[in-house]
Amino acid sequence: MNAQIFALRSQKELASTIESLIRTYVWQGISMERLEISDDYNEHSGQTEHDRCKLFLRLFKASMVRIDDFAVVVADGRGRWYYMGARREKEPYLLELFQSSMSSVFPAVAVMDRMLILPHTIGDAFERSRAFPWFVKPRDLAGAILADFRNSASVEDAVRQAGEQLKTDIAKLCKRHMRIRRIAKPDFSELGTLLGIPTEYLETQRDQIAALTVDLKYEITSGPVKAGNEAQVTLEVRHEGDVDLGSVSVQVNAPYGVMKSPVRATLEFSGKVAARQIQFNVKPKTVPFCPLEVLFTLDESRPVATPFPIPILLDVEA
């Protein structure tokens, strides 16, 4: 897990404050990289600074809503112009940034390859940008928080928000990972490898992530069926948790040829309703059991995770 602080050379003290806040509100063990850029950034600033500016532009562009691609040209106010990142590719638009306005763009903070904090003045930083409509996405839509870096309370609040956003995003990713891999408990080892996050960080979020699963119980209430005969089965689904689940999509799978197709139903668990029933037909092939599998899916906006498939054994008699 890494963070990058893009800051001007004159912003050393501010960068130190941001670093300390990130360790407090994001994670103590985060790997921190300070990427300094000259206040009078120009074509002679060296390849290292050009590379830092290229990285900044890549992350900045990803945090924006914009009509097309653009390059930034830095002006020194004496008629000289330098492409930020030392070169222009085929970007159709060009934004001008005066060296005197560099502090409207920096410092900027990226965490895990995502721009998370930008100065609140960034909207006024570029000249001649009227013909190029753009804005920074909000933080909950993969965008950035806009902070007033002259106000320490605003900086602290922005870093705190960034920490919260990361926790929420990682919990969502963990929820999705559990669903796709169909696992009952978070696999921090695999998730950590996939996201490039140390398991130690994920462990600190375990309570939040593990509390996301919902507790549904299943039982076949219709009794045993006979092998080779078609019979109706009643499956009762009970919800014993406190969370109001709303609509839950349920799918029942059976071995090949036992059902004509998987059973799909939508069950409503609103208010005090605790139990719902689904009925379907099966034609089991062999004794003593017919293994069934129940999956349910919730609207992903809900604060609970979809558990792994639940195996159920249907008793089969000769």
């Binding site: 799978n253 071995p255 090949y256 089991p284 092939k285 004794v287 059991f289 293994p291």
Partner: protein, 166 residues
């Protein structure tokens, strides 16, 4: 769950005999030597209905066949066998008998292979070169580099018509 390391071939029989059931859940299997070895050790086999396994395992006789990638289908046949020792023994013995009588020894396989070669040689026919083949050969020769043209000409005429013009 034990994941065995590479195992010597002469030790395999012991592993098969230690198992109550041998499962071959392949998604694709050209022949299915594992299933055959298990049957030779008197063990019932639950295998995917794919490739050579479909021919080797007789559903309901020497084991069970399940749909590839259908874990529920696999589970139901495993549970059926795990719950019935006499069924396991009967299927294991039927499998062993099938291996012994089914033409699976090296001598028998070599004999069958020989028959295929003999039939191919005996029934070999020289066919007239069709008009489309001539056109195709001309097109290929036009594309071939000059120094390779002779090799291509000879190869293509041999393929289509041994007695054709060179």
């Amino acid at each position: 769950m034990d994941f065995l390391d590479r195992t010597r071939h002469e030790d395999l029989a012991k592993f098969y005999q230690d198992a109550r059931i041998v499962v071959v859940p392949s998604v694709f299997e050209p022949f299915g030597m594992v299933a055959l070895e298990a049957m030779a050790c008197g063990r019932p086999v639950v295998a995917s209905r794919t490739g050579g396994l479909k021919e080797l395992v007789q559903h309901g006789e020497t084991g069970y066949l399940c749909q590839p990638k259908d874990h529920l289908d696999l589970a139901q046949w495993l549970m059926a066998l795990l719950a019935d020792e006499s069924l396991r023994n009967r299927m294991g013995q039927t499998g062993l008998a099938r291996v012994r009588s089914g033409g699976f020894t090296w001598d028998e396989i070599a004999g069958e292979m020989m028959d295929i070669y003999v039939e191919a040689i005996t029934n070999y026919e020289v066919r007239e070169k069709p008009a489309e083949a001539s056109k195709f050969i001309d097109q290929v020769l036009q594309q071939a580099p000059p120094k390779d043209e002779y090799d291509w000409r000879s190869l293509l005429h041999d393929l289509f018509d041994k007695g054709g013009k060179r």
